[in-house]
Symmetry: C2
Subunit: 173 residues, 2 copies
Amino acid sequence: MKLFTFFLVAVATMAGLVAIIAAAQGHADGGPAPIFVTEIPHGYRDWKWISSAHEAGKLNSLGAVLGNDVAINSYREGKLPFPDGTIIAALHYRNVPSEENNKVFGQAQSFVPGPPTNIQFMVKDSKKYAATGGWGFAHFADDKPGDVAFMKTCFPCHEKAKATDLVFTRYAP
Amino acid sequence: MKLFTFFLVAVATMAGLVAIIAAAQGHADGGPAPIFVTEIPHGYRDWKWISSAHEAGKLNSLGAVLGNDVAINSYREGKLPFPDGTIIAALHYRNVPSEENNKVFGQAQSFVPGPPTNIQFMVKDSKKYAATGGWGFAHFADDKPGDVAFMKTCFPCHEKAKATDLVFTRYAP
């Protein structure tokens, strides 16, 4: 009897672990909904420009936000929420001075994208990503997705931009 | 006779003025080559993203550089000089802090494009713009082209980037 109890507990623990891992990886069939995107959306480097962004401080980042056609149309029409099929890409680079430009300007003023740091995506699928506001989040550094702990930080932060459907970036005219 | 001389001088003066205005506007038929572009290239806001740029100091600018397909292909193939038909657009905005983003980050670190300041173009036509390295330069603020004195400053500065066919901006991977 004791052995049987141990067996039951072991099975339950295993099942629990499998469920946690599946939920974390977003690969559960019929299990919890996936919480993030693990594949780089195709052709994003050809998408249209939404805006640029510079983060000073520790991030020290300079980059651009691009959108697929669904994203661009939605931005231009000023319609919220973004429809399913929207994908927004944030391309981040180290913010570095351009020695070449500064020489021409005669002073240190010019900053350009240096080495790429990461690419992030927001993919709208209101059913698949219902648990995270309809958005699947993605982060890739050296083509590798962010780990589970990191990916869990996306939604709580973006949730603060509720008025603009969890999207921080505005369209630059 | 005196009247006739006056008439001749007047005609010569008028002709001279017309020639100066035509050269300045780049509309001279068979006259001096046009030195700059006076029409905003069609559809530039839909072009692909080449890179972002931040100019600190007096310019205090944040923006993006976009290119038509000829430009993008040339950048990606790494071929110089850029072929005729290349158009490169620089969209400039005032570099402003994003109060909204800073609230979420909990510190002042986020900068975004504010009000548009100007749009600049480089149009490659090695015959038409032979006098300025094959490039026609354009600058528009509030849809109005820059004045002649201002436009004359483009080429001498861009000429310093001879190694990259007068183009400062590099393609961000």
